[in-house]
């Protein structure tokens, strides 16, 4: 089953490549493929949530992996739904040629394939290869438009993430080295094997290995101070790609870090070391994001820095530890993905209408694109943590976790910075939505079909804000148990 799940996006990518010239066929194939992926993924996820872990040796899907898989296939499907009208419009306005359009979908599915590979692998080495794969494939997507700024963003992305990945490889090797004493020549770098002997792993190698992995994979998560590629890459990519990058890829990278974090909590070193580091990087990311959000002039970069903020919050949640911290952080991974995707889709609409990325250049959205502006406003309120949206729930949980564990000062810093970001972010968005539109701007939505995935997302974040379905909640509790936290 898992192999089918892996082969499906590759197959669709191949189909898109072969049918390159027939745009309509490519689009249909993509939507169908994404739908199938969603279906297959959901079946697997439900299976794991209800009946337990799937362990096929090299492929391993436990509740944590299944949870990530859910995010990948859901956002993947919605992003492709949004891509079709969006890229069609780009094609019509001459930004993108027909060849490039076909290639877009090919790379998109390859990208999804690599991300699925990250979460279903048992072998930590394959996880590394998959994460490197995501960088290589998404570099093409980031540099999709052949403009100078896109190329610059893609190059920075490639170089900085490759450095990070090399450090992560060194970390992986050290973790492997910590296991050869115990497992001998048979040590196969499988996460399950390592977990079984976690208490006996060599602490010196494990410690340095974790630090390297945190810095290395943390570069891909966008934790400060390794975040410098993120604003460029996420703002220069086409909007549906930005949604995938922000909403899914960052989470996958975080997933990789978490696997090692769980290993650490069960090892002889205990969880305090790794949690402390996570907390440190999280607070740093939150702080830097706050600083740059206040002075931001480009709305896509604004969203990118918001991603850094939320990844910081997730790291802080895991850093706080305990039931509420971990539960909140996990839930936040889901909520942030949904909300950020919504915002990037909205930003895509705005970009296609106003043709500028600058905040000052966009005015009077409520008059020119009423539906988009409402959805954007809701998204902005959501991402900054207002009730009744889901992000509020998870942020409060993280805060509870902090106070619960006695980390009062970090919790206060965390709360304070979120408030600052709320004010700054909303200030920017409100300026864009209200006011008088520029001269000569026609009224009317640009991308009507693209509104459907956006509305779906709003429904999800509203519903999740009010209550969390039992199935999901139970699954999350199981994941918390993985971390060794009390349930």
């Amino acid at each position: 089953m898992i192999i089918t799940l892996l082969l499906l996006p590759v197959a669709v990518a191949l189909v898109c490549l072969l049918l390159n010239r027939y745009t309509k066929l490519v689009e249909t194939a993509s939507v169908l493929g994404a739908g199938l992926l969603l279906l297959l993924g959901s079946v697997l996820v439900l299976h794991v949530f209800e009946e337990g872990i799937i362990d096929e040796g090299m492929w391993y899907l436990d509740q944590l992996g299944a949870f990530m898989l859910l995010i990948i296939v859901l956002i993947g499907f919605l992003a492709i739904l949004y891509s079709v009208p969006y890229m069609r419009h780009e094609h019509e306005s001459g930004e993108v040629s027909s060849n490039m359009l076909g290639l877009y979908y090919t790379f998109l599915f390859l990208f999804i394939f690599t991300m699925v590979l990250v979460v279903v692998s048992n072998n930590l080495g394959i996880v590394w290869i998959a994460v490197e794969g995501t960088t290589l494939v998404s570099a093409f997507l980031v540099g999709f438009y052949n403009k100078g700024t896109s190329l610059e963003a893609a190059w920075k992305y490639l170089i900085i993430c490759s450095i990070g990945i090399s450090l992560a490889l060194l970390g992986t090797i050290f973790v492997y080295a910590s296991s050869i004493d115990v497992l001998g020549e048979n040590s196969d770098l499988h996460w399950t094997s390592l977990m079984a002997v976690a208490g006996q792993l060599d602490p010196a190698f494990l410690k340095i290995g974790f630090v390297l992995v945190l810095i290395g994979y943390g570069t891909k998560v966008g934790l400060a101070p390794m975040h410098t590629w993120l604003p460029d890459a996420h703002s220069q990519a086409p909007s549906p790609v930005s949604a995938l990058l922000s909403g899914v890829l960052l989470n996958c990278a975080m997933y990789a870090v978490l696997r090692y974090h769980i290993l650490m909590t069960h090892s002889s070193i205990g969880g305090a070391f790794s949690s402390g580091l996570l907390l440190l990087f999280g607070l740093l990311s939150l702080g830097i994001a706050a600083a740059f959000i206040i002075t931001q002039k480009d709305y896509k970069r604004l969203l990118a820095y918001s991603s850094i903020e939320h990844m910081g919050i997730i790291a802080i949640g895991f850093g706080f530890g305990g039931f509420w911290g971990i539960f909140g952080a996990l839930l936040h991974m889901f909520n942030h993905s949904m909300t950020k995707a919504l915002l990037f889709f909205g930003a895509g609409n705005v970009l296609q209408k106003y043709k500028t990325k600058s905040i000052d250049g966009v005015r009077g959205l409520s008059r020119t694109m009423p539906v988009t502006s409402i959805l954007l406003l809701m998204g902005a309120l959501a991402i900054t943590g207002s009730p009744p949206f889901s992000v509020f729930t998870s942020e409060i949980m993280v805060l509870t976790g902090g106070i619960d564990q006695g980390n009062i000062l970090p919790a206060l810093l965390y709360a304070g910075m979120i408030v600052i970001i709320f004010a700054a972010f909303m200030g920017h968005v409100v300026r864009m939505i209200f006011g008088d539109p520029p001269e000569g701007m026609e009224k009317g939505e640009v991308n009507k079909a693209g509104l459907i995935p956006m509305i779906a997302l709003v429904v999800i974040i509203l519903v999740m804000g009010i209550f969390i379905p039992d199935g999901l909640s139970d699954a999350l509790r199981d994941i918390v148990a993985l971390f060794g936290g009390q349930v």
Partner: protein, 219 residues
């Protein structure tokens, strides 16, 4: 347990790897960069072969051969090809002058030695003292990426980092599972090709691959 001749060979090869790190920093011409990198990869492959000989693990031989073929032949050829295609100027343009760079690299090597000292106490693997050199290679590779202007030198710096990681793998764990090693090699190859592609595109758009021109995106 260990043949002292093998130990000597490993130590000499590791010294050559460190030496080539310094030569990379000291060179002022693009052509010599790829040549020196090829020598380094050759030494690395030879080291892997000696380790394979010592431990009797067959699959490390394959890894050694792969390493030599890929990193000492294919990738340098590819980078030279890309350099001629882009018609890059022959000189490496350093942001930090060569004497200063060399002194910084010496400091880096000392730092690497101090960082890996607690790990060297473990001594279970053949040559845990190669660990210091591998760390130094990683850090020097990163320094190379940061202190040279051309985009192609950034790629070479990245490859040096990879070499350092590979050396660390050989010296602490003998080798990783075969499939992982293959995957890593494949990744490195694809990565280099993709970076070459991008360098070409950058040159087409900006008419230069001076990475300090890439400053358009700022806050």
């Amino acid at each position: 347990m260990l043949n002292s001749l093998s130990l000597d060979a490993i130590n000499t090869l590791a010294a050559i790897i460190l030496l080539t790190d310094f030569m990379l920093v000291a060179s002022s011409r693009m052509r010599s960069l790829t040549r020196i990198f090829a020598i380094q990869s050759l030494a690395l492959g030879a080291l892997a072969a000696v380790v394979a000989f010592e431990t009797g693990a067959e699959h490390i031989y394959i890894v050694a051969v792969l390493s030599i073929v890929l990193k000492a032949v294919i990738i340098p050829r590819f980078i030279n090809y890309a350099t001629t295609k882009i018609q890059v100027k022959r000189e490496v343009e350093p942001l930090v002058k060569i004497p200063g760079s060399l002194l910084i690299c010496a400091a880096i090597t000392l730092l690497a030695y101090f960082v890996t000292e607690p790990l060297m106490q473990q001594g279970t693997a053949i040559t845990s003292n190669c660990l210091a050199i591998s760390f130094a290679s990683v850090l020097i590779g990163m320094f190379l990426m940061v202190s040279r202007r051309k985009a192609i030198t950034e790629v070479i710096g990245l490859l040096v980092v990879e070499n350092g990681v590979f050396l660390a793998a050989i010296s602490t764990t003998y080798s990783m599972p075969m499939i992982v090693e293959l995957g890593v090699f494949f990744d490195v190859l694809v990565g280099v090709i993709i970076m070459g592609l991008f360098a070409f595109r950058i040159n087409r758009t900006f008419d230069s691959i001076d990475a300090s021109i890439l400053r358009g995106l700022k806050d």
